[in-house]
């Protein structure tokens, strides 16, 4: 029989406000197995924990029930307390009387009644708890970073700096991500390429970092410490180790009409291309959708001009398998499609562009060489209208946009407006906004400069319609402060498109069994206290795949994710989860049903000799669980027809006892 102590937490007034904690402690005194029951202001505080330790010693407790917040919050805390008091940490159960009770039920008698029932269920479970010891597993001291934008680059550099090998997997032919496409960065106006490309070179030169560019993760197996990852290296038809990046082939290729995705389709590239001058790795790639040689077997110009002999038309996709201790998701973002926003005439006029397209139009390496020209006629625009929040903060237009604020648009629009007024003072710049949001170091000062120093016209109100008419764009908008309608003849309209997670994130989350929110951003393990970890152990989050962020925040988060990875890789052994399946060999009939449902292949069969009552021996096939591989889902326990399979920590008897306690 257990000797159980029940500890009811007030959590200030969080619990005590709607649950009569003293009554709960009193009601539990007569439960079977309970020898001590008390309540305290803050059970998780130092003195609360000491109280538990003292009670364990004084009442010779063998089990503990803490009625407090969610076990997802403080289960680990109280397990440590139990361990410090000399108990097995798995002799602790939490009754969640805060999230499931006091916070959702306003009525004191109802809340108290439910809290008592939840506590009784926990007591019933602890009565059947057994001490558990976690197994150990080794850690593969190599990290995988998925995504080679500034987030992935920074994470990889920081991990490599600590001495651990890192691989970066990037789907594009080069690392660099969105930041490589930007012209200047707010609020300092320093050039994006000037601060990014040295980092890209660092990555290329770092011995600890391998770059798998033009590659994708296609499969992830295993768990924290030992993930087995399959990486697809797409055929680039150019030998990476032979190509010198001279670029001669990209000049001679006769296929000239391929939309250049790096410049967002605003100019053309060849079928063999290097995305931009500072690409890392600086290696050409053949686009199989446009290459005449690959499509018809006739051409071969690039092969002829390549003095290094790097072209290989017979290349095939390759799959490599690697083992990693930790995985960092850094898949980044994309602006949402503007197709559904017909009111802004994005698909009707070339002169309605997104902010990222403007970024390329203003970049010295962009399609216009850095001169701001209208895409339709190459003329200098004299009146430019910026529209904020296109698809952001758009709760009403659910099918079109996003509910959330994309966070970066207010600042980059101020930057664009300022740069345009600086370079072309004869240009009129209007910005239509719902709110200008500038929380951040030197952000508001930056925005004030755009308004006061550069004379940008900020107008609170939304643009209703943009209609192309006679070479101009008629902009109809409302000015909410003066309460009047405005009509502006603009030359260029720039839409601050909302940003959304990259499409690849969804598939990746499924492979990693990492959770996502309703917008497909990765969910963090705790929104405040564990912001760079996924709830799935060994998976970390870096950059905008977790939520909209600007560059400084992304870099900060990337460093934080790296430090978490380093903390993991620095360990030689990981303590596993002891709540794993085990089979009762006397009951198992070797039917192999459990083996079929196990998602981890943790169950194998072996022949074992059993001594029979008549002293003869008999060999039977029985299931054996590999505890290092089992993750403890419990699928096998239900599939098992003979009832031999059970799950430690969540045994059938324990759950039945909880059901009984609740239904009493």
């Amino acid at each position: 029989m257990q000797r159980i102590g029940v500890f009811v937490c007030h959590c200030g007034t969080n619990i005590a406000g709607t649950v009569d904690v003293k009554a709960v402690a009193e009601a539990l005194k007569n439960e079977p197995g309970v020898v001590f029951s008390t309540d305290y202001q803050y059970m998780c505080s130092q003195s609360g924990q000491n109280m538990i330790k003292e009670a364990v010693a004084e009442h010779r407790l063998t089990g503990i029930v803490v009625c407090s917040c969610s076990p997802r919050m403080h289960e680990a805390t109280f397990r440590k307390t139990a361990q410090a008091a000399g108990l097995n940490p798995y002799m602790v159960e939490i009754a969640n009387i805060r999230e499931q009770c006091s916070w959702v039920h306003k009525d004191m008698p109802i809340g108290t009644e439910k809290a008592v029932i939840l506590a009784k269920a926990a007591v019933a479970k602890v009565n059947l708890n057994a001490p558990l010891t976690p197994g150990e597993s080794p850690v593969t001291k190599r990290a995988l970073v998925i995504g080679g934008g500034i987030a992935g680059i920074q994470t990889a550099l920081d991990i490599a700096d600590a001495g651990f090998p890192v691989d970066i997997v990037e789907t594009k032919p080069t690392i660099g991500g969105k930041m490589a496409q930007l012209d200047k960065t707010f609020p300092t106006l320093d050039c994006a390429a000037c601060i990014l490309t040295p980092k890209m070179v660092d990555v290329a030169q770092n011995e600890k970092i391998r770059i798998f560019s033009y590659s994708e993760v296609t499969d992830v197996k295993g768990f924290v410490g030992n993930f087995d990852v399959t990486i697809k290296r797409k055929a680039r038809y150019v030998k990476e180790d032979v190509c010198t990046g001279c670029g001669l082939c990209t000049e001679k290729c006769p296929q000239k009409n391929v939309p250049n995705e790096f410049n967002l389709g605003m100019d053309n590239r060849r079928a063999i291309y290097i995305p931009f001058a500072q690409a890392v790795p600086k290696v050409a790639t053949i686009d199989p959708n446009y290459c005449t040689m690959l499509k018809t077997g006739k051409c071969g110009v690039c092969s002829k001009v390549c003095t290094a002999g790097a072209i290989d038309y017979s290349a095939k996709d390759e799959y490599i398998e690697e083992r990693y201790g930790a995985i960092v998701a850094a898949t980044g973002f994309n602006p949402i499609s503007m197709e559904k926003f017909d009111e802004f005439a994005y698909s009707q006029s070339k002169d309605v562009i997104t902010s990222l397209e403007l970024e390329r139009l203003m970049n010295a390496a962009g399609p216009t060489g850095g001169t701001l020209l209208r895409p339709s006629d190459g003329e200098h625009p004299h009146t430019i209208v910026f529209v904020q929040c296109v698809g952001s903060r758009c709760a009403a237009c659910e099918q079109k946009g996003k509910e959330y604020c994309s966070k970066i648009c207010c600042m980059y629009t101020a930057k664009h407006a300022m740069l345009i007024r600086d370079k072309y003072p004869d240009t009129d710049v209007y910005v239509f906004y719902i709110d200008v949001r500038t929380p951040g170091k030197n952000f508001d000062e930056f925005y004030r400069r755009a308004v006061e120093e550069y004379g940008v016209h900020y107008i609170k109100g939304m643009v209703g319609k943009v209609s192309p008419e006679g070479g101009k764009l008629k902009v109809q908008a409302s000015d909410l402060i003066y309460g009047k309608q405005l009509h502006i003849d603009a030359d260029l309209v720039v839409l601050a498109a909302a940003i959304e997670p990259d499409k690849s994130a969804r598939g990746l989350a499924t492979m990693l069994t990492a959770s996502m929110d309703t917008n497909d951003f990765f969910t963090e393990a705790h929104p405040k206290l564990r912001p760079v970890e996924s709830p799935t152990a060994g998976v970390f989050l870096s950059g905008t795949c977790q939520g909209p962020k600007d560059i400084p925040e992304t870099v900060a988060q990337a460093g934080a994710a790296a430090s978490k990875v380093i903390g993991l890789l620095a360990k030689d052994k990981l303590l596993g989860n002891p709540c794993v399946a085990h089979s009762d060999e006397m009951m198992c009939n070797g039917c192999s049903t459990c083996e079929k449902v196990c998602p981890y292949g943790a169950i194998t069969y072996q022949d074992k000799e059993f001594r029979m009552p008549d002293r003869t021996t008999k060999v039977r096939r029985i299931a054996v669980v590999n505890e290092a591989v089992c993750q403890g889902c419990g699928a096998c326990t239900v599939a098992c027809m003979s009832g031999a399979m059970d799950l430690r920590g969540f045994s059938s008897k324990q759950i039945m006892a909880e059901v009984d306690a609740i239904c009493k």
Partner: protein, 144 residues
């Protein structure tokens, strides 16, 4: 008046990774739902043995709901698919035994869907309450 005072007893099995966290989020956001719902934490919805559900109905539960991760999002890759198939079978059997379909349910609630959790529980509790007490499977030997 008696109908209004009747409080159903509802057992909710929630998977640790999605729905239990969804319930926590509902708590964090102070989203009210009926106190008749009592949650049991399981590592995965596929840990819920049909025996647990039968036991709950035998002991006088009026409704049982199982919540797991959305299809494709299972923390253990495929557990919720097992749940979906097992429960489809079990529920049709229970229906045959006289436990109305409305008393049993499988729902997918993610860790980010606190509002969905509260709304689901509210809806389920209302449906079960409208059916009244579950008598068909109550094990008389359990009565004192």
């Amino acid at each position: 008046m008696q109908v209004n005072e009747y409080k159903p007893l509802i057992v909710a099995f929630c998977c640790n990774w999605c729905s239990y966290a969804g319930a926590d989020l509902a708590g964090n956001n102070r989203l009210n739902y009926p106190a008749d719902v009592k949650i049991i934490r399981v590592p995965c919805s596929c840990r819920v043995n049909p025996m647990f559900i039968l036991r709950a109905f035998q002991r006088g539960a009026d409704g049982v709901i199982i919540c797991g991760c959305h299809p494709g999002d299972c923390h253990y890759t495929s557990g919720n698919y097992y749940t979906r198939r097992r429960m489809a079978l079990l529920f049709s059997m229970l229906d045959y035994l006289g436990i109305e379909r409305e008393r049993t349910r499988v729902e997918w609630v993610s860790a980010a869907e606190g509002a969905k959790f509260a709304a689901t529980m509210k809806d389920f509790a209302e449906k079960v309450a409208s059916l009244g007490e579950n008598k068909r499977l109550e094990d008389l030997r359990c009565k004192k």
